[in-house]
Amino acid sequence: MFDIVSFFPRAVVQSVPLLCGSTGETITEKSGNLNLGIPGIMYVGAISGVIGSFFYEQSLKASGSTINTFLGIAIPMVCSILGSLLMGLIYCFLTVSLRANQNVTGLALTTFGVGFGNFFGGSLIKLTGSEVPSIALTQTHGCFVHKLPLAAKTGWFGKMFLNYGFLVYLAIIIALIAAYVLRHTRLGLNLRSVGEDPATADAAGINVNRYKYFATCIGSVIAGLGGLFYIMDYASGVWSNDGFGDRGWLAIALVIFTIWRPNVGVLASILFGALYILYLFIPTGANAAIKEFYKMIPYVVTLLVLVTVSMRKRRENQPPASLGNSYFREER
């Protein structure tokens, strides 16, 4: 029998990195920046948080005291935000200020971010001198997965909806706020116009570069939180090199799937999360090869989605018209 009560929470937990990544990328793309550095930025967001909490836990061990919940959360959060913010700034400086090609810059940042993560991950593993190639930050993990007290008392409902660490709720709230801002505020209207037609936005007195910088940096920070969540909550505080996988790319595909709407992203990411772990829940018998086919599902669905989405004709569902182009006012 398919066990929905245990399947659903796992799908949700799987979905959060995707949701953060796609929310961040959506905000970025609305400004006309196609940031293909998102996978790398999520790596950096993760490793920065790991570095912060690693040294905090080391200092705790040295002084023999127990972890302070607030610091246990705040230190990795701040480190992660700074790390991904820096990546966003590099991207903006190259593509907005220097008007470098966005695709090349993004891909370079992804390569850089993954390498950066693995390098410092490897260094920290060396520092611990442990036998296994990973770092376990169990105390920090404990801080991140504080559950709502109601969760244990409300039966299946609590298990399905209340039994998560705070980052899950934060990711959903950020996505909903982003959707509201984009659709219903002056700020969102201005941002959308920058992504659609920067020359028009400029003529209307909107500071195009400032919007591009802010949207891209905020998007990077949100995406970076997805990386942090993956390590601190999903992976129980264990960093291992290349552990994050290709979730960053799925997040970018999800942006198209959700037709640039972060509120749709909440449900779509849960769907993707479900597909991602479906193979664990479908009995495949002794033949392990079948499992590999199930693991393909999210990628096959991504391909199908891209095909169907590109057949849609409505103008509102198209990518921002100026996506991928840099803007220079005096260009003739």
Binding site: S193, T200, A203, A204, G205, I206, E330, R332
Partner: protein, 515 residues
């Protein structure tokens, strides 16, 4: 002279591009007063738009001062300009397609409080009522006609309380009826005490709407005239710097047999809309068939269908050889059609969209037509180079060199290169669309001359144009399209602008006064 304080005074403005290599404006001074309409005249590349762009904050002058109401100001961005009450309606509309009229209008405003689209829509309605516009505030821009988009642009600057308005070739894409309603709006603004600057190439409009005329030539200020006390001939002479005859020649058609027979041509767009509906006509060698219609009435589809670039649903296009043999053109390879001597020069709104490659130089753009010729495995670069030089010389293309990429030329010069190349192919059928779109008087007449030369050589010319005055003077017959249907074929020598306008807006000119 004038004791009043000008609304705007530009003093000794100089602007160069490419670090001094191209001088767009040199020591230009103009004044504009409230309650007046100033027409800014000049040939293409004479620096009118550049000058106005400095007023609206797109460019920043290298030298010179700008005064608004007697106070010196620095305009560094479009926002600065709007804060001073200066609003510009650009030739290429600056609107976001996927947003509604209201959203476009309030874009970038820093009003207090929540985003209230309903309140904004109401304010827009009030402005519409005040000046006599007709607009649905909730309509998406991509569903709008050109004149509706222009209305949005004008309301956008009015909504920001602009009282100095700059309009860059506002009538280039309007029907005569739409032009009239725009002029009524402009008169209302003038009565309201606003200062209006209008850039246009159409001299009859200058006479109709403006109070004063300022003329620029090669980036320099030539002179200022009172409209009512001067003549179009004087303006043109000042613009060009020498005498120009303003009448278009029209040699009689040669009376050759039909060259192209089009029958029941029907085209459907990708979305399934009918773009051409059973259009039938003949065109003979040695005649100019003008095609009139509101933009988007099927002109593009018609020409492309003949050139083999457009999928057709039914009908036939028959090409008649000199010896009388007939050949079907539909579903032929476009290259073959081109080799038979049918050329198409289509000048799209963005000018570079079709036909020329912006990043290639003049000679390479000539090669786009010639590279298939010749037997050697290497391309021939010499002849295209010569041809480019010839076009530059004969059509007076302003370019630093043949090796300059086309993107860097001004719009009018780009067009000359495109049309010149097609004519250099020595065609049997010459199709040109909007060949003089946005061109100045002098270059326009060069193009009309070229068309007439071709006509006298026995070429069948199909000329799609926007300026009805020209269309009537240049063509032998005028085919009018109305929403993809053949509205009528008129004798250009016997018709007038109103009749053509009527056929454009209602099928077969029925329905009395067009709405």
């Amino acid at each position: 002279m004038d004791q009043r304080v000008p609304a705007v005074s530009m003093r000794n403005i100089t602007k160069t591009f490419n670090s001094g290599a191209v001088v767009a404006n040199k020591d230009v001074s103009i004044n504009i007063y409230r309650g007046e309409i100033l027409a800014l005249l000049g040939e293409n590349g004479s620096g009118k738009t550049t000058l106005m762009n400095m007023l609206s904050g797109i460019y920043f002058p290298d030298e010179g001062q700008i005064f608004v109401d007697g106070k010196e100001v620095v305009i560094r961005s479009p926002k600065d300009a709007l804060d001073l009450g200066i609003g510009m309606i650009h030739q290429h509309f600056k609107l976001v397609d996927v947003l509604t009229a209201t959203e476009n209008i309030i874009l970038g405003l820093k009003e207090k409080g929540k985003l209230d689209l309903k309140a904004a829509a109401k304010k827009i309605k009030d402005i519409c009522d005040q000046y006599g516009f007709d607009l649905d505030p909730m309509q998406k821009v991509y569903n709008m006609s050109v004149s509706q988009k222009q209305t949005v642009e004008i309301i956008k600057v009015l909504y920001r309380n602009a009282d100095i308005l700059i309009l860059d070739e506002p009538t280039a894409v309007l029907t005569p009826q739409e032009t009239q309603s725009l002029f009524n709006v402009l008169r209302n603004m003038k009565a309201d005490g606003k200062a209006v600057i209008i850039i246009t190439h159409k001299l009859n409009e200058v006479r109709e709407i403006s109070d004063f005329v300022d003329v620029l030539r090669h980036g320099e200020f030539i002179g200022s005239l009172t409209t009512s006390e001067s003549t179009p001939q004087e303006w043109t002479d000042m613009m060009v710097g020498r005498k120009v005859t303003l009448n278009i020649e029209r040699p009689d058609p040669l009376g050759l047999p039909p060259r192209l027979k089009v029958k029941d041509l029907t085209v459907r767009s990708e979305e399934g809309l009918i773009k051409l509906d059973h259009v039938s006509f003949d065109v003979s060698g040695g005649e100019v068939l003008g095609i009139a219609g509101i933009s988007g009435s099927g002109q593009k589809e018609l020409l492309e269908a003949i050139a083999g670039l457009q999928v057709t649903e039914e009908g036939s296009v028959i090409y008649v050889e000199d010896d009388g043999t007939e050949e079907e053109l539909l579903n032929q390879d476009p290259n073959k059609i081109r080799r038979m001597g049918i050329t198409l020069s289509f000048v799209p709104e963005d000018r570079l969209g079709m036909g020329l490659v912006g990043n290639m130089d003049l000679a390479d753009n000539m090669m786009l037509r010639t590279f298939r010729k010749g037997k050697s495995p290497f391309t021939d670069r010499k002849n295209p180079h010569k041809r480019a030089e010839l076009i530059v010389k004969e059509l007076e293309v302003v370019t630093p060199s043949i090796e300059t990429s086309v993107r860097r030329l001004s719009g009018g010069n780009v067009q000359k290169v495109l049309v010149g190349r097609e004519i250099a192919e020595a065609p049997k059928v010459l199709m040109t669309a909007y060949a003089v779109r946005g061109l100045d008087i002098n270059s326009s007449y060069t193009i009309y001359d070229l068309i007439n030369q071709q006509k006298q050589k026995g070429v069948a010319v199909i000329y799609v144009g926007e300026d009805l005055d020209v269309l009537i003077e240049l063509s032998d017959r005028i085919l009018v399209l109305c929403e993809g249907e053949l509205s009528g074929i008129l004798d250009a020598r016997k018709t007038d602008k109103n009749e053509v306008g009527l056929y454009m807006t209602s099928l077969h000119g029925e329905g009395g006064e067009a709405s």
